[in-house]
Symmetry: C2
Subunit: 416 residues, 2 copies
């Protein structure tokens, strides 16, 4: 895409009321717009990152056999009353609204209730199980504090997967596969080293749930990490009993701040019982379906990536999620430089590489370099009087900072 056509521009300063580093960088670089505390709109660059994340996650969900659907945000009071979650004293972050006839509605902060009700229409026999379904849908959570940018927003994009199994064995086997899928997702966005599977409170139906916690100075959670065993314990269950359960010793654990980027839960039969989600087995006996839920905050993950992969100059996107793979900078306006840069652009596009081409005439070289560092596209390619004279291109890796002059025919080998 031609940068002169992109409507966003970078800015030197973030809004004064923005305290989170991720949002500051994303706003300055033109990825998001802050509507109010905890509510952000996604501008073209930001949406490209979000879609890349979605695609990485969707691929893993499909490998699990998950069927994609899209549930409504508006939900009726009656389904939340069935599980005793309507009361504001039980769920403290509701957004609620009303129909014209004064019937109360909620903006879903999660979707266990609606999906259990839907599935009760389709499941009757053991032959209908097991299966799983997922969506990418906005969740609404009325956070009292919203100071972590897109890492803890009041409206945010989440992937939520739900599994439906006949028995504990079947559930455990899916749960294990989902855990592995999550590990692959965090690996493919470059967070494997700093993301820990973390034992947390399990709710009513299992001893522990599993969180995926990414070590991050600005994270709101405290976890205790065993670097050797590559597991962690959330502060909420950090006690002698848990340590004994997990065979961990206090001495081997380090206290860290972290951001919860995913969590997976065994739900047991809580929702199945509430919504008559039962199946008949081979002998005609009825049993409640065993459910699991598997959340992953897509926009939150984007925020965590920015917190972790950035420096004083700007964002450093991992290649798998970057809005473009190459940032091509044209420095100088001579027809020779322009046609050289144009041909490099055409060549990259032809090879299917996504390029942001900074061919702006009213920006200085210094501005273009600064914008490029701020926006954080993995590979920067410069065409200038110097490079055109030498018949080479200047290639810089945003992550390592390494700069080299390369032959044009080698460009694809480097950036592919």
């Amino acid at each position: 895409m031609l940068q002169s056509k992109l409507f966003t521009k970078t800015r030197k300063e973030a809004p004064k009321d923005e305290v989170a580093e991720n949002a500051k960088l994303l706003i300055r670089a033109g990825f998001v717009h802050k509507e109010m505390a905890g509510v952000y709109s996604y501008l073209p660059l930001g949406l490209r990152v979000l879609r890349n994340l979605e695609n990485i996650i969707r691929e893993e969900m499909n490998k699990l056999g998950g069927q994609e659907l899209f549930l409504s945000a508006l939900q009726g009071k009656e389904i939340w009353e069935k599980t005793n979650r309507w009361d504001d004293r039980v769920v403290d972050n509701w957004f609620k609204t009303k129909l014209k006839n004064n019937a109360e509605l909620s903006l879903a902060f999660t979707h266990e209730e609606p999906i259990a009700r839907i599935m009760s229409q389709f499941v009757s026999s053991y032959k209908d199980l097991p299966f799983s379904a997922y969506q990418f849908q906005v969740k609404f959570r009325n956070e009292a504090r919203a100071k972590s940018g897109i890492m803890r927003a009041r409206e945010f994009l989440m992937k939520d997967l739900y599994s439906f199994s006949r028995n504990e064995n079947e559930h455990d086997s899916f749960y294990k596969k989902a855990k592995e899928a999550y590990e692959r997702i965090f690996a493919s966005v470059g967070l494997a080293d700093v993301t820990y599977i973390t034992f947390a409170s399990g709710g009513s139906f299992s001893k522990y749930s599993h969180e995926f916690q990414t070590i991050c100075e600005t994270g709101e959670d405290i976890i205790y990490v065993s670097e050797d065993k590559k597991i962690a314990v959330n502060k909420e269950v950090y006690d002698d009993k848990t340590l004994k359960d997990l065979g961990l010793k206090k001495e081997e654990l380090k206290e860290k701040k972290a951001i919860e980027v995913g969590n997976i839960f065994s739900l047991g039969t809580k929702f199945s019982d509430a919504f008559n989600l039962y199946y008949a087995d081979e002998n005609g006996e009825k049993h409640p379906v065993i459910m699991g839920c598997y959340g992953l905050g897509v926009s939150r993950l984007m925020g965590a990536i920015v917190e972790i992969f950035s420096d004083e100059k700007g964002i450093i996107w991992p290649e798998s999620v970057a809005p473009f793979r190459v940032h091509l900078l044209r420095l100088g306006e001579s027809s020779e430089i322009a046609s050289h840069a144009d041909s490099v652009y055409a060549g990259l596009q032809k090879a299917g590489i996504e390029v942001l081409y900074d061919e702006r005439k009213d920006a200085s070289a210094g501005e273009k370099f600064a914008d490029s560092d701020l926006i954080g596209i993995p590979w920067r390619v410069v065409v200038s009087a110097k490079t055109s004279a030498s018949g080479k291109l200047e290639l810089k890796n945003r992550k390592t900072g390494e700069v080299k002059m390369i032959n044009e025919e080698d460009l694809l080998n480097h950036v592919k």
Copy 2:
């Protein structure tokens, strides 16, 4: 996809409270789930149709140079006060909610205000214009009545495009191109013949706006159609003055019921003025940006398609939006039939054709045929004892009803 794995099932009856034909069929066939009046969730088959529509529309928006973004649903009161739209007496279909600190928020029913505010940060010079931006985003409208299924929902998916121009000429030229893009969209979903560009009320800044109205017995609008000239007039502006403006005579117009599937509006400077969306021209003089907005209800369009393309047996999806291209039915459980059907399935998949493969063992031939007609996939292919014996396949076109026996090697030529 294997139909035995699809968690949805068809049902004989729609919910008793559902009065709209589109929702009845979509619920019975397992495309959507009704959460409450006017609020629907999209199940796997329904989401596939929605995504196909999105892709058709996105392609046209990108051709117009539109940049995709994604604005938040939650919006602060202050921006709607700037244009005098916060008051419930002005906008009668608000959903509103509150933050913990009691600050009032709205669920956006449209996005002119937020997008004008965003653009005021990025536009300062004539060099920044013209451009356009669009999104696929859910809109929330608190309809007093919601009796038209997904054709008029309280929560629905909309594509909204906004254009930003320096002057009326530039605006008119974009507006014309957008109109043509809309015509191509309706043509590619098979609605060209029954969709009329319709003159409607223009608001404060232009004499008329343009609606795209699809003739449909269950539509909520009344329009007056000139079949010869392929234009129509909305009842709201149907008077002698309008007829004179458009050079139409009463005698040539027919009254029809219709559903508004799109509308395009010149907004003039209403929102630019409210949000200081100004640019400086070559001489440094400031001018407000000329805006246009171009809406298209994606889920509404899906509903209209079902209303128009269906018969007493079920839905008849146009090929461009169908959830699958081929519905492959396996009738009979002999290993010969099974392996024959499996190989047809593999062959279609290899050719990149999307296939729903009904290999269910517990459904009769009659049930499979009825389900296939109800779900409405364009091509039905049957593998049975009869076809296997003859070495042929039975191919049925859902739209024409034509059935023929074809050689297997000709299958791709027919369904591609």
